[in-house]
Every structure is written in C-alpha cells, then in structure tokens.
C-alpha cells in the first residue's frame, strides 16, 4: 500500500515541478521545452513501476518497466534479428521501392493534365482505404519471407506518396513557370531547377506519413504468416505464451525505430528545404 501511496506522491511532485516550470519565467526557453515532457515521461514510468509493484499486478496483465528493460537488455540478439528482418528488410525495402515508384509515377502523371485529373481523386480515395487488408493476398503471392512484407509496404506507401508528390509538382505559379520559359529552359531544366525544389515540402510530407505506414504494414503483414523471426511474429507468439515482457520489449523497439525513422526524414527535410517559410521560423 505504501508503494501506491508513494506513486501518488511522485505523480503530484512531478506535476508540481512541471507546473512551476511551465508557468515560470523561463517557460519559453528550449531547455524547459525539452525538460517538461521528459519529466512527465519519467513520472509516468516511475508511477507505472510503483503501481505494478504496489498492487502486485500479474505479469500477464502489465509487466513493470524495470522488468521490460531487463528483458530488453537480456535478449538483444533476438531483438536485433527481429529488427533487421522486419524494419531493415521488410519496411525499409518496401519504403524505398514504394516511394521511389510513386515519385517517378508522379513525374510521369504530371506531364498529362488528363491523367492528373483522373488519378488524383482515385489516389486520394485509395489512400483512405484499409490497405493493410491486402496483406493476406500479398503473403500468398510472395511467400512468408520479407519480400511479401516489402510488397505490403509498397502498396501502403504508394498512394499517399503519389498524391503528395503530384500536389507538390503543382506548387509553382504561372509567373515562375513563365520566367523559366523566357529563359528558354527545357522541360527537364525547369523540372530540376524549379518544380522539383518547389515540390520538396510536399514530397517530404509524403515521406514522413509513409514512415509510420511502412512500419505498420511490415508488422501487420507478419500476423498473416512469417518465418520464425520478425517483430510481428515475435509479438504474436509471445502474446500466445503470455510473455508480455517480450511483447513490450518489441514495442519499445518499434517505438524507437518509428521515431528514429521519422526523425531522420524530418532532419533531411530540414537540410533540403531550409528555404521554405515553415523551416525558417
């Protein structure tokens, strides 16, 4: 019972510190902006740990963070194998192929006004559909290994990326295109020097949306069949064995991979579109 009481105390203390920081004079500095969510996250972890121990929650319902960390550290080789199977091969492979194909298709589509008019509504429509459902079909076609996961990812990221790139290629206004014309620029020159750079913010929007979709596709596709390695496989079998600490360790890996992947894209965006108003702020 004391542990539960302690948890309550930690929660109040954490909230009090954050309230002081957030309403204090230095609230707008970058350090405080990072410190406050960090304290909040830490408070939640401590409260979680104390509550699980204090209320003696069984492992099959919710393992304590310390237990998860222990399991994480002790099964690094398994986690790494799963990571490279699902993220590096399945998700990343599909991501590169899908985004690349969508980008090239967008450039082709952009040359014809008729095609663009027709493809944009269809693309928008498809982007809202539950495409993960194609996973069983693609697993049937491409087998259980990572190729089928990559295929699911390709299908998932293709349309969001296509729609964004096509929208981006329309970003230049008439004046800018006319200027390129007065320079006697060829189609390729005006594509590379004017329209692609102008499309970059949209392209990166598509790339960032696709990072999460890629991970989701690769993990869910493994629920429909996989070799005996992979994050989705590990999660579904560990759940079956009620080894929830392993499940949580995989979720930590997925969370880290997801944030890292997104962060990388955001960083790339920052270096390549430094000129855009949204980045200059």
């Amino acid at each position: 019972m004391t542990l539960v009481f302690l948890a309550l105390l930690v929660w109040i203390a954490g909230w009090w510190i954050n309230a002081r920081l957030a309403n204090g004079p230095k609230a707008n500095t970058r350090a405080v902006g990072l410190l406050v969510p960090a304290i909040f996250g830490l408070t939640i972890l401590i409260v979680w740990e104390l509550l699980v121990r204090g209320l003696e929650v069984p492992l099959v319902i919710l393992p304590a963070p310390s237990l998860i960390a222990e399991r994480f550290a002790s099964s690094l080789p398994i986690l790494w194998a799963d990571f490279s199977q699902t993220i590096l091969k399945g998700a990343l492979g599909g991501y590169v192929i899908g985004c690349g194909a969508a980008f090239l298709t967008a450039i082709l589509v952009d040359r014809s006004d008729f095609l663009r008019r027709g493809l944009l509504p269809v693309g928008n429509f498809v982007a809202a559909l539950p495409i993960v459902g194609t996973a069983p079909i693609l697993v049937m076609w491409f087998g259980f290994d990572w190729q089928s996961k990559a295929a699911v990812v390709v299908v998932m990221v293709f349309f969001p990326m296509l729609v964004n790139t096509v929208a981006g290629l329309r970003e230049t206004d008439q004046m800018q295109r006319d200027l390129m014309r007065t320079y006697a620029a060829s189609y390729w020159q005006s594509l590379f020097k004017l329209r692609l750079p102008a499309a970059l913010p949209f392209v990166f929007n598509g790339l960032k949306i696709s990072t999460t979709l890629a991970l989701i596709g690769a993990i869910v596709a493994e629920f429909f069949g996989s070799p005996t390695v992979g994050m989705g496989f590990r999660i579904s079998t560990s759940v079956g064995q009620l080894a929830l600490d392993m499940v949580w360790a995989e979720i930590v890996v997925a969370a880290l991979a997801g944030s890292l992947f997104y962060g990388l894209m955001a960083l790339l965006e920052k270096t390549l579109t430094f000129w855009h108003p949204s980045q200059r702020g």
Partner: protein, 305 residues
Amino acid sequence: MKTVLAVLTVVVTLIGIWYLACVPMNIKGVLDAAERAGEQVTPATARERRDASALGLVAQNSFAIPRVWSVERPRLPAPHQVATELWDTTVMKKITSKRSLIYHAQVTLSATLMGFAIGTGLGILLAVGIVHSRVMDMSVMPWAIVSQTIPIIALAPMIIVVLYSIGVQGLLPKAIIAAYLSFFPVVVGMVKGLRSPDHMQLDLMKTYFASQGQVFWKLRLPSSMPYLFASLKIGIAASLVGAIVGELPTGAVAGLGARLLAGSYYGQTVQIWSALFAAAILAAALVALLGLLEQVLLGRMGVKP
C-alpha cells in the same frame, strides 16, 4: 465533367490492367487443371511448367487464356468474380446468415463506431485540456506528436489478450484498439483547430469582456470545426483499420478481419478479395458520411465553400 471523364478513364484502365494481370497469374493453375483433365499441354509435366516463365506458358498455350478468368481458387480472381461474390454474399444471403458479408461488416462496423466515439470524445477532451492548461500542453503534447510516429498497431494483439485474461471480451477489446488509433489524430487536429483563432479575434473577445468559457464556446469551438472534421476523417479510417486488425490475433469468428484471416488459411482468394472490397466500401462510406456532415454543419455555420 472533364474530371468525371478522367476518373472514369483511370478506373477503366485499372480494371483492364487487372484483367490482363489475371492471365500470367493464373495460367499455371489452369494448365495443371487442363493436364489432369487429359488435355494436351506444352510443356507436358507440372515440374517443367514450374520453372517456366508465366508469359512463355501463356504464349505456348493460348487455348487456355479464356479460362484464367473463371478459375475456382485463382491466385488473382478476376474483377467480375469478386463482384459476383460480393453480390452473392450481400444481397442474396440473409443478413443474419454467418456467410453474409453484411453480417460481418456490421460486426466490424459496430466495433469501429464504438471505438471511434470513445477515441474522439477523449481526444477532444484532452485537446481542450491542452489548450487551456500550459502544463498539460508542455507535458503531453510532445508525447502525443511522437506517438504518431509509432506503429501503435503492434499493441493490438497484446491489448486483446490482456483484456481477455481479465474477463473482457467481445466488442470492447476491438473498440479499444479502434479508439486508440483514432485518439491521437483527433488530439493533434483539435489542438490545432482550437488554436486557429488569431490574435485579433481573441483580442476582440477580450474587449467584449468575454469569460474563458464564452471564448471557448463562441470563438474557439466554431473555428476548430474544419480542423476537427479533417482529423475525424483520418480517425475513422484508422479506427476501421484498428477494428480489422483487432480481429486477427484472437481468431475471431465474425468480422471482416476474421473473413480475411479465414480466407488466407483456406486459400479462398475470392473471399479475401470480397472482404477487402467490403472493407474499402465501408471506409469510403464512413469518410463520405463525415464529409457530408461537415458540409451541412459548416454550411449552417455560414462557412463559404
């Protein structure tokens, strides 16, 4: 009008590509069946055909081409096969029948809607809290944004099993996953929307001596509506995906996800495709419904299109 024509062209082209793709995808199965029926097939044995390229087989056995669109268990069913299956399992079956897609869709839909309602309600509440409390804003908002980059769906099997072990089953576990998926888009969109009034408007409310409640009800909430609807559309699509994925790990017997899983176990490709299309139609209908609601509501609020 031009757009309709263009969209129709693209759709027809896609269906054409689909029909064409059926030929190389299904040719091996057709030839195996033809060989069993005693017909002349080049190359003659299944082993030789296995390593041959699909297009080569098509060229050598052109008599088999018409059959690829009516295989019993095709690798890729033809569009009309899927359409027939959809028609048979929706209109021709009684709604209460276990084989009716409407029955399965309704199971998934109820989980989706329940989860969507929970997720949206909680999301809006949290967004209101975030806008009005600086502490919550600074503590919770970064995590809400980071959580969008995480494949939350990985949690789905665990949520189902954990809830099952404490005695909760049926609709609620799926609804919780659906709620979880629609929660974060709504929070992020709603916070953006509640913050969308600019300084001028907020200052005007101040000069009217409006209380915080009045500012909320008369300015912030109305101006957040376009943002809210944009994220509701994302949220309901995510909810549907959550409900479908939530049906996978438990071996559920009813629901579109269960149909997908059963189809992939027994190699019933036509069933998978029809379940997939049912899910797609459901998603499109839900999004369209929200779009309609948005138009009516924003129209009554006097927003010009």
